[in-house]
């Protein structure tokens, strides 16, 4: 059977593109973040000055500076590729959202990519004033009376930004503005997965709002899944 050279070229391109498509869904890095030692006790929050919020919590919520799970799992750790992946010049089209509900920020840690839309929602029947304490990006604070529609903001430079509410001193969150969308936040079991990694050498950083950051170098070849773990030292005070 005689194969035309043209067909062969098309087939080759098709095959190559299949591999290229397989690439992003290929390698991944997953693992678990844990702590050793005694983490600080999280204190219940007294919201009596804002009765509408206090009523939304059957039992008072606690501070969230160190959230842990079973098996010494450390929750709310941002795990991301800090080197090895290209910066994303076009941010994801999907906005990330932070909701103010029951005088609490949901979620507690909000990762996003540089210039990605951040939507701020007030779900409470009282005013909030969200105030990201940015040092590299522009610092701003915006009031949001009850019933006002969500507003959008974005950050142009990578930075970890503590966020507070100017009206309710106990409200606290963190924005993690990252250079690419290869990130994950450790869940209730401390687990995380960074999928869709093409083969290459990566630096993985784990960042925690109270314990700082740690890095590890990981090399991915082919479609393999590498497992790594981060262990943070917890302090009682």
């Amino acid at each position: 059977m005689k194969t035309k050279p043209g067909y062969a070229a098309v087939l080759a391109v098709l095959a190559a593109s299949t591999i290229a498509f397989a690439g992003p869904s290929g390698g991944s890095i997953s693992g678990k973040v844990t702590y050793e030692g005694t983490p600080a006790r999280q204190k219940p929050i007294d919201m009596s000055k804002e009765p509408g919020c206090a009523a939304q919590h059957a039992t008072p919520i606690t501070t969230e500076t160190v959230v842990v799970g079973p098996g010494n799992a450390l929750v709310n750790v941002v795990v991301y590729i800090s080197a090895g992946a290209p910066d994303e010049s076009t941010p994801p089209a999907q906005a990330v959202t932070i909701v103010q509900k029951g005088c609490q920020y949901l979620p507690h840690v909000v990762p996003m990519v540089v210039n990605q839309e951040l939507k701020v929602v007030n779900d409470d029947a009282n005013s909030h004033n969200i105030h990201p304490l940015a040092k590299i990006n522009n610092e701003w604070n915006k009031s949001q009376p009850p019933g006002t529609p969500p507003f959008s903001e974005k950050f142009g430079k990578p930075e970890f930004i503590p966020v507070k509410c100017n009206i309710h001193p106990w409200m606290h969150s963190s924005f993690a503005v990252l250079k690419n969308s290869h990130y994950a936040v450790s869940g209730g079991d401390g687990g995380f997965t960074l999928p869709n990694l093409p083969p290459g050498k990566y630096t993985v950083t784990a960042w925690h709002e109270s314990y700082g950051d740690q890095t590890q170098d990981v090399t991915i070849s082919g479609n393999e899944t590498k497992t790594i773990s981060f262990v943070f030292k917890a302090k009682p005070y």
Binding site: K49, N166, I167, P169, Y237
Partner: protein
């Protein structure tokens, strides 16, 4: 027209005096041992200022009634002794009035504010910051740990900047977002501002005192009636000023001990 104006002045003056004389807007019942002095002082001030106000308005109306509608040739009369005598007379009159209020006010102010609390008074520290009050009780050791402003960490509820890791006195300190006090017990309130000027105002206690950043202001009072009262900031302190409040619970001795134990368990 001028006579109508004179009558209008009289009507407005009397109408504005009526609610004051009739006690239409009364202050809430006093719940402190010193409050009656404040109330008496307020009442004396109102009488003195009210009588002066009415007298001034009535004299003004009489003059308008008497001396309006005069022809262009009427002779202008002057005050005996000229303007100088009038000014001196007014200064002496107003000065004597203000001085009298100050002298009589000493018992309501200086005797309460400028005297030390008794040795058995319960110390409570209150910190005002944008836009909330936090209260600190010394715990079983009866001693407050030192403050380290650089350690203030709101996400972790370390509103006072305590260092329990290094300061043993701080370990049993109790920090709360509401204030509870035992009834009929003298309270020594140590006031501290974290950022800007604020004020501590409880209407029923007849206590209103500014926080001044950088100054340790203190006052003492005794509450005499069990109940829940509102503590509000009455010094415009910024965007969230309208929402800067906390609650004061005046409790029986036993209830107060229970409250303190409950708060201690949450530290």
């Amino acid at each position: 027209m001028a006579k109508f104006f004179a009558l209008t002045i009289i009507v407005i003056a009397i109408a504005s005096a009526v609610p004051v004389v009739m006690h239409t807007w009364v202050a809430p019942a006093d719940i402190s041992t010193h409050g009656h002095l404040i109330d008496e002082q307020m009442s004396e001030t109102m009488i003195e200022a009210g009588v002066s106000f009415l007298a001034a308005q009535i004299i003004l109306a009489i003059f308008i009634w008497q001396f309006s509608n005069r022809g262009p040739d009427a002779k202008t009369k002057t005050f005996p002794g000229g303007a100088k005598g009038l000014v001196i007379a007014a200064l002496l009159l107003v000065g004597a009035e203000v001085l009298a209020l100050g002298v009589f006010g000493v018992k309501a102010w200086a005797d309460v504010y400028l005297t030390p609390p008794s040795a058995t008074a319960l110390p409570i520290q209150v910190q005002a910051g944008q836009f909330a009050f936090y209260f600190r009780y010394p715990g079983p050791d009866k001693r407050f740990g030192p403050l380290h402003p650089e350690l203030i960490n709101e996400p972790n509820q370390n509103y006072f900047g305590l260092d329990p890791e290094h300061d043993l006195d701080s370990r049993d300190d109790i920090v709360a977002a509401e204030m509870a006090i035992p009834v009929n017990k003298e309270i020594h309130l140590l006031m501290h501002a974290k950022d800007v000027g604020h004020s501590f105002f409880v209407r029923e206690l007849r206590v209103q005192q500014d926080f001044v950043p950088g100054l340790d202001v203190s006052l003492h009072f005794t509450a005499t009636k069990v109940g829940k009262y509102e503590i509000v900031c009455t010094q415009l302190c910024g965007l969230g000023h309208y929402n800067m409040k906390a609650y004061l619970y005046v409790l029986s001795e036993a209830d107060f001990d229970g409250w303190l134990k409950k708060e201690a368990a949450m530290q």
